[in-house]
């Protein structure tokens, strides 16, 4: 069964909790895309004109470094969002995003979505709230990783062992 972009957008966690009419607004700026393993979704430094709602597969968020393989900062799976810089134009993408395997995603035109958010402030506010929630989750996860929790605890925690 072929499903519409609007149906797929409505199912994505980004829109959970948003007013029911949000899906058509987002879907009006969206298209379906597929990526082969290794293909770039986003490239650091380029204009943040499209972000992605991942439907299937895994995306690696990477930093390229001269003379060595890219460093993988994080992997993002189904139900997640790839690309945040578009929220604050004219920021370019801060990292590369690469398909770790076959990836199916909903590509959203950021200029189109921003225009709708500005035209319909209620929609824009609800969308920003939802995106902020996801950003907060990502920030908290990053902070936990900064703690380096799995490092050897040494003797400091429970006496010399």
């Amino acid at each position: 069964m072929i499903r519409s972009v609007e149906e797929l957008v409505a199912e994505h966690p980004l829109l959970s909790g948003l007013p029911v009419d949000a899906a058509p607004l987002v879907a009006g700026c969206a298209r379906l895309e597929r990526f082969e393993p290794g293909q770039l979704l986003l490239r650091e430094g380029e204009e943040a004109d499209t972000f992605y709602l991942v439907r299937q597969g895994t995306v690696r968020i990477e930093v390229h470094t001269p003379g060595r393989s890219p460093l993988v900062i994080e992997t993002v799976g189904p139900g997640k969002v790839v690309g945040w810089s578009w929220l604050l134009p004219p920021l370019p993408w801060g990292f590369d995003a690469r398909a770790a395997g076959p990836v199916a995603a909903i590509a959203v035109d950021t200029a189109c979505l921003r225009a709708k958010a500005e035209t319909d402030p209620a929609f824009g506010y609800a969308l920003l709230q939802r995106l902020s929630t996801l950003l907060l989750e990502r920030l908290q996860a990053t902070r936990i990783r900064l703690l380096d929790l799995y490092a050897p605890p040494g003797a400091r925690d429970h006496g010399p062992r």
Partner: protein, 289 residues
Amino acid sequence: MGLAEPGVSTTPRHPLTPFPYQVVGRRPETADVVTLSLEPMGGTAGAFVPGQFNMLSAFAVGEAAISISSGPGRGPLQHTVRDVGPVTHALCETEPGGVVGVRGPFGNGWGIGTPTGDDGQGADVVVVAGGIGLAPLRGAIVHLVQGARGAGRVVVLVGARSPDQILFAADLEDWREAGAHVAVSVDLATEPWAGPVGVVTSLLADAPFDASRAVALVCGPEVMMRFAARALLERGLAPERMRLALERNMQCGVGSCGHCQLGPWLLCRDGPIVTWASGAATLLGERER
């Protein structure tokens, strides 16, 4: 060890007196973690259940509480030790043929593989482990994937600092082949790692389990456990079905010395496994004064 073996006596002994055990195997797991396989030399410590710990002594150095990482009644007693201090360093350096002291087992267990049966029989079991926290869970997972418990799904989610810090890599593959959902995430990806990168809780999103009935077993750094518990609660898991392993300064093992007190518990006796509902939520959120 495990269940007492035929021909090996279980000599009644004062709980503070160790039994000598011979190291019959030493397997490096990572650069600073070693699994020791031990066989009794005459008398044997008691039968254990997954989640319990023994006090291991490196003679002339000292004693440390180390979780049992093998399954009950299967092969030699195994302990997986991380080299973090003088005692654990001496234990990690003990070669086959060497002798260590063992007294125990102490504490309660995960409630998996107990002689009296499990609660939540047939329900899905979600195991969330961080770093060395996988060691105390290994015996329970072995029991679960062998289908000894019931028809529920087994989900094993593991977080590690980097790929070279992943414990029991061969076991993880065995558990996957046995039908468990096994996922591993690292904080720092190094070549040729192609798996997930991020906190272990990010693995919960794709984990297939029925949260309305599932039992969770969580072990790792306490901050990780707090966040894992929060994520499991958001997924719908009941607090009374969430079991966590807490660790403090275990010394006597029998609830006498008080070094391992945490709130109302002496963890060597009342723990190390406690449920989120029983007070772990409060105690893990308690701030030092």
